[in-house]
Amino acid sequence: MTEKNTPLLDELEKGKWPSFVTEIKRAAVKSEAAGELLQVLERSYKERRGHWKHGGIVGVRGYGGGVIGRYVDEPQTYPNVAEFHTVRLLQPSGWFYNTKTLRTVCDIWEKYGSGLTNMHGSTGDIILLGCKTEHIQPIFDEFSDAGFDLGGSGSCLRTPNCCVGPGRCEHACYDTLEACYNITNEFMDELHRPMWPYKSKIKFSGCANDCTSSIARSDCSVIGTWRDTLRIDQEAVKEYAAKINIKAAVCDKCPTSCLTFNAETQELSVVGEDCTRCMHCINVMPKAIQPGKEKGATILIGGKSTIVQSAFMSWVIVPFMKMEAEDDFAEFKDLMRRIWEWWDEHGKSRERIGETIYRLGMTKFLNGIEVAPVPQMVFRPRANPYVFWNQDDLDRSGTALDGSKL
């Protein structure tokens, strides 16, 4: 065990917020690699630079991802972290756990790895931080026996994730936990064997509060919504009226001004066709207002972070789709297959689907995936007349109105 000092990192054990330095030190009691990680990190703090190198090779038989190669830049000085790879494990939907399962993760990881984890990575996986190349296969084999599987990495479907949904949220408009589980299982090939131009992510949020930030963080955002009108329980409205200023806190903040509170009758009314289903009123008055009865999801495409063509937020391609476990989410799966096929055919290497659509045009994309255009897809129509008309639809006979040749 290295017994060197870490004066800079020790500064980060002070203060009230839980300290990652303390966590690395705890792991270092049992793991020499974790001890050396601390040394490398102290050096980074002193020199203000990183000391890790990227590595390409993933070592599990039959898979093209799930392990990310990581090497320290001075292996002679830090032999225990010369190889310090990341293993991604598929998390259970909604990050619910029983303690038995968590202890299994700990036991296997204690045997082979640094004892350090991220609960969880930004994509959603359980992240096991730091193991040697020779241990990758045994780690996988043991986790596999214990009922776990690897998550995605590389140019593949990355690990889908979802909000807590019907597990503990009154707002959920579809079963996000089941959708995530079922759809992840459906696309195991796409997840484990990278075959696309670049990575692709799906996130499932049960309503427009979008707790998974799917619109910003996933190529395909599945956001719960309803098709009819939200439901108001007037008795519960009266209870709220005694506690909050409904006009100020709810009606005045409704973006479409479609809510009216009648102070005399103490009743709240909504102009259903004007409501854009933003969730604000429901968030403030969950006991009194709930989504309509016809529930499903809006499907949006194209979200991604800044690299390369700027950050994109996903945009609407299907305003309303039923998301039912009973029909096995068939419509959604079918749509995703068409979308990926189009992207796989037209996308350039390292181009996210949003960028491919932007480069080639929404029209080509919609035609390619056979989805009809609807006004819900855009904030407003185009401001220029430069339409690429489909010439096959036009009279190209080259004749004037009287039939003479032009």
Partner: protein, 352 residues
């Protein structure tokens, strides 16, 4: 033999009985005290979730510790949130108070609900990534220590969601946060021609650059970087360790604000840059913590009830924000990348 493609563990095995019984039948929720959510089902059943902050980078000892607590107070069930908090799921109300006392005694941080600052979604940084321009965990620790009073109370105008990404790849979805901390490199890679000649595959290296800044240099058996085109993303370093992107004196942090991903009231929006650069003053980044605190205090003093940072700034106007915040405005804050034009003011209306 290992089974391939068996998928994630089934979530149903992870749900406490009260969740199974009330699945999809929750009626409403309240926040009885900071860090405690009370979800009530149509049946009248109540589930208490106690939210505890974690550093995200945790040891298996930490996981085992929270398992012991979950066994004692939650019949062995707990969950994690998207923002790396742990939630203890208490179905027996009698156990709530003892749990809170236990957590207090053991020094856990309970909070992050409602009008508070929740845990900062963040990335790997110097701990484990190859292209970071700053650390992730350390900056988060310093900022959360400073903002702790807003984590375990609910006295902000609205919720505050923060993100940190340690390089331009922005793994951490910082681009749509109320306040985003982004690590920035500011100098092009230094080329180690020796290392390139020893075996870097030049076509792959050239192809790795998103802006086409790298050209082969056949005479030298190496490459040339067109410095005007380089946006310091570090992708080339991923491809070859010969392209050293780190630069201790010039790497640092940019602050962006006003993004959100929820649709409530206003549409989701991107965070916008308000401070182009702060130095990497490890180990506690005082310039960064101070800059963030100032912005938050300004927001508290000026926002209407329930207004998120971005809603507030959009209401008063960004030009007004810069005046109030006494932040210098510079050409670095005017977009000159691909979709810049939408940010130019095509109107004669503005404030000072």
């Amino acid at each position: 033999m290992a089974i391939l493609d068996q998928g994630p563990p089934h979530y149903k095995k992870m749900l406490p009985p009260i969740v199974q019984e009330n699945y999809g039948k929750w009626k409403y929720h309240e926040i009885p005290s900071p860090g405690v959510l009370k979800h009530v089902g149509e049946s009248g059943a109540a589930l208490y979730s106690v939210r505890v902050g974690t550093p995200r980078l945790v040891s298996i000892d930490f996981i085992r510790d929270v398992c012991v607590i979950a066994d004692e107070y939650c019949d062995g069930f707990l969950r994690w949130t998207t923002r790396n908090n742990v939630e203890f799921l208490v179905s027996d109300e009698a156990k709530l108070k003892p749990l809170l006392e236990k957590l207090e005694a053991e020094g856990y941080s309970v909070g992050g609900t409602g009008r508070s600052v929740s845990n900062i979604v963040h990335t790997q940084g110097w701990v484990h990534c190859h292209t970071p321009a700053t650390d992730a965990s350390g900056v988060v620790k310093a900022v959360m220590d400073d903002l702790y009073e807003y984590f375990n109370t609910m006295k902000l105008p609205a919720k505050l969601k923060m993100g940190l990404a340690c390089c331009l790849n922005m793994c951490g979805a910082a681009h749509c946060s109320d306040i985003a901390i982004v690590g920035v490199h500011r100098t092009p890679p230094r080329i180690n021609h020796e290392v390139i000649r020893k075996g870097t595959e030049i076509p792959s290296l050239v192809a790795s650059c998103p802006t086409g800044a790298i050209r082969p240099d056949p005479k030298n058996k190496s490459v040339i970087v067109n410095e005007d085109k380089c946006m310091y993303c570090g992708n080339c370093y991923t491809m070859s360790p010969a392209m050293e992107i780190y630069d201790p004196k010039n790497d640092g942090i940019a602050i962006l604000i006003g993004g959100k991903t929820s649709n409530a009231r206003t549409s989701p929006s991107f965070s916008r840059m308000v401070i182009p650069f702060l130095p990497n003053t490890a180990p506690r980044w005082p310039e960064t913590t101070e800059a963030i605190r100032k912005i938050i205090e300004l927001w508290i003093a000026n926002a209407n009830d329930g207004e998120r940072v971005g809603e507030w700034v959009e209401r008063i106007g960004w030009e007004r924000f810069f005046t109030l915040a006494e932040l210098p405005f510079s050409d670095m804050l005017i977009d000159d990348y691909i979709f810049s034009r939408e940010t130019f003011r095509t109107s004669a209306q503005f404030k000072y």
